[in-house]
Subunit: 376 residues, 3 copies
């Protein structure tokens, strides 16, 4: 565990006393975890501590040095090129001391003590897509669930990457068994298509729920297998925990040029993409919340739907036909072995259509929901 | 259950007393289940009760109204267009009364009480492909099996769609466990390729047998997954029964324009297509009848086939090579866990070739058939 | 079992006393298993006993008649065409008598009594690719293993095809259970791509090990399913033995024109192809030898690799990145249920990289190897 790092000010002044690099203008200017320094030096000496991106001369990179003591400044290549020979005054007013790891948790109780865990990392919130967007989406998601009647309890955690997840898991080791599904939220504001990285299990309910929601969205998407490299799913899916958690993002980390630079800002992140990600998350939670199993109360041959008023939802247009088909599928597969997600997958109908059909059939007594714990 | 409907006569006469629509010319002219009526009315009033197909002006549609009391006539668009203004005399001499559901059953006993069920619907036999063709194929199939030595018992049922299947299943609920395989026969006379809709189980022996027969036929074909929409497989595969029954047709219902019209007639249905369907059904039954498991009596290394006279069936041409290969495959896989269909699937050899090899090997004592009930 | 055949001399002399076919020039000139004869005859009579290849007029075919008593000579089409009318003196100084079946066995003991069986056929060693190449590769493989510390014991058998395998299996029936993996070696010297024919089991560890080694080789290759036709895998994979043995060759038998002719010689077989085959075999054995399971000693979240000196193997280039990824994968999957081959398959990393990662982690105490017998 690294020491707690705090920074109050940091700058580089040229021989005229002008701040040519100023932490107060952008927090990215400081190499994160820089040790304190106050010294005058030549440009040559200073250069050893400067980081820039020659391929993107306007962008400031984001750099860290958690486990090796260093100091440094990040700046644009243009800034770097404009530095004249001469003497520079370097100040970093930082401290590295024993401290605390700060994180936030938001718990929204549901009918069951079974939990859905939503995790986002907060270690560099001045960068927009990675991962202020994840913090924002998690926050809005928590707010939108607050007044709903929920089957699952929801836990949102806002933690620094890696050490936050490790710490949180260590603190909650005895209760992680409650986590039935989970998602790691990051990079949800850029224009790229949705990308789901499966849990280590690969066939968990969350994996199937996300795959179904993405397919039904009609928009392009990508699903990739788990790998032990990426965000905090590395910890949640370590073999001692093996939680059913994947990571649902837009463009994954490292695959867009603005990643970990000053260009990951409000030009990259757009409200419409945030909204689309939010909608996708809601559709996933809708599946988890409603993925019940039912028992057909009239399992031998088809019941007549017309005289039960279930034709109201049927008619001449395509939408009605789907509703009718969904009822037939739900009746046919409600033998106690199939969940509504099974029905949606096999029938290739959208989950909400299947769910609506189940509710209509339940309302007319043709279907009975199984006890929640029979779902496992 | 709807009332029993009988009809004796039905016509529409124009003001000159000429029958412009006459049930006696085509039974399709009457909306099936029409209530009785005898009344004079204007063309405008009559039109409310007339059904035609504007896109196919020569064809008479087939219409029914089982559960809503109505009367009506079906006619070609050309006929409809030729009706002049004026007063019309409408007569429907029908009755809707408590009655009986009539169906036929043909049972052909085999060595085992295990049954193969062949079901066809008889509710509108004046339409040719759907489903007089199915009635014809079932009848010829029953006749051809009558004098054979059979492993399975065969039951052919000729029933009205939906209500017939529901009634038959209700009457036979205690004995449907005998049904080991089944097929719903319909639309077997048109020029389309064969189409198999799998059972709800999806991997039943009947599903694999039909798939193998279709593949070996060399002709184009299509296999589709089960859906709870179509013919009486909806009832046979309802979750309370879940019988291993698929539906083997040519062009499925609703996918040819002549479906449920007067154009589904002897122009659409041709003897050669009926014969091809019949041949396909026979090849499926051949697989079911002979899909035994055998035990290799010389399982450690290959026995010498030459000195047992099994080279007679081998030689220089391709056919012989298949026969030799089939013997090696049957010997290799006859460990009690593989049926001849397993051998045919894995070796990619036709089932009849594999079956002939098994008989030759059995004849020379190299193979012994397992007891029939070891097949499950 | 055929009689033992020995041949001392064989020739055909023309009327001038000149040997026009001479066994001493090529052992292929004699139809193998020819009965003895010493007789003068016309060209017409002689022709009945001559075998040639009209499509390849320079090549001498290789022919046998194990189970039907015959005599004959093989010669090139050009030789045949040059034979003038006249009287010929035919001599075959051979014998067919009760005798012995000769084979060789080379056993290299390892830590375990579990065995890897390498089998090659020696029945016509004058033909180069089929199968002098297999004899050569087996011999060099045995020599290279001789001084290694081995987990498995290795048994190399050099046997005549078919009857040799049958005899060997009969003699070793009680101990074949020791054979955990095996390969039939043949046709390993031609320019064709590597070809692996899977064991009858299809998913044995040897099947997966070879598939992985071939994939990682970067060279083109082909994998085919087991069939009971080919080399001695026919016997090893007969249902009474069902050993986990496949056949790893270059171009399979019968698929190159020189097969079983005098053209299967040192023009066809080249050192570089033999070396490539040898390397492939070694990479397969490397997988078998090292396909352990490990237990992550720090299974809850990721251990820090940097402070354990495991960063030394990591750095800026691609190779290092693979090494780092391999460590993360090995840690993530070392839950007792995954072998290193499982890790290699899932991570798509080369087995040697995964193995090196496991050794590095084991060295730092992060991983503990499971007992060898836990691998089953």
């Amino acid at each position: 565990m690294p020491k707690e790092w705090n920074i109050r000010d940091a700058y580089v002044k040229n021989s005229d006393g002008i701040k040519v690099i100023d932490f107060k203008k952008s927090s990215l200017h400081i190499l994160n975890y820089s040790t304190p320094i106050s010294k005058r030096m030549s440009l040559a000496e200073l250069r050893e501590h400067l980081y820039s991106l020659p391929d993107h001369p306007d962008w400031i990179p984001y750099k860290t040095s958690y486990y090796q003591e260093r100091w440094g400044f990040c700046l644009s290549q243009n800034q770097l090129d404009s530095l004249a020979e001469g003497s520079y005054e370097v100040l970093i007013d930082s401290s590295l001391e024993a401290g605390n790891l700060t994180f936030a948790e938001c718990f929204i109780p549901g009918e069951s003590s079974d939990e859905v865990l939503i995790s986002c990392h907060i270690c560099h919130p001045s960068i927009c897509n990675d991962n202020l967007s994840g913090i924002a989406l998690s926050t809005f998601l928590a707010r939108s669930l607050q007044d709903c009647r929920l089957r699952y309890s929801y836990r949102f955690i806002f933690i620094p990457g890696t050490i936050g997840a490790i710490t949180w898991l260590a603190l909650n080791e005895s209760t992680v068994g409650r986590i039935k599904h989970g998602l790691v939220v990051a990079n949800v504001g850029d224009s790229g298509k949705m990308n789901y990285k499966k849990s280590r299990r690969g066939d968990a309910e969350i994996d199937r729920a996300v795959a179904h929601a993405l397919k039904d969205s009609g928009a392009p998407y990508e699903i990739t297998d788990f790998s032990p490299y990426g965000y905090d799913e590395r910890q949640f899916c370590s073999p001692g925990f093996n939680l059913p958690m994947g990571s649902l993002t837009r463009t994954p980390w490292g695959r867009y040029p603005e990643y970990h630079t000053s260009a990951d800002n409000l030009s990259l992140v757009q409200p419409k993409y945030l909204a689309d990600s939010f909608k996708t998350y809601l559709s996933v939670l809708d599946i988890l919340e409603n993925n019940n199993r039912y028992l057909n109360q009239n399992p031998k041959c088809e019941p007549q739907l017309g005289n039960r008023g279930l034709y109201r939802t049927m008619g001449g247009n395509v939408e009605s036909k789907d509703a009718e088909l969904a009822m037939l599928w739900v009746l046919n597969l409600s033998d106690g072995r199939h969940s509504l997600l099974d029905v949606a997958e096999r029938s290739k109908l959208p989950f909400p259509t299947v769910h609506a059909a189940a509710r209509a059939l339940e309302g007319s007594g043709l279907l009975r929901a199984m006890a929640a714990d029979s779902r496992r």
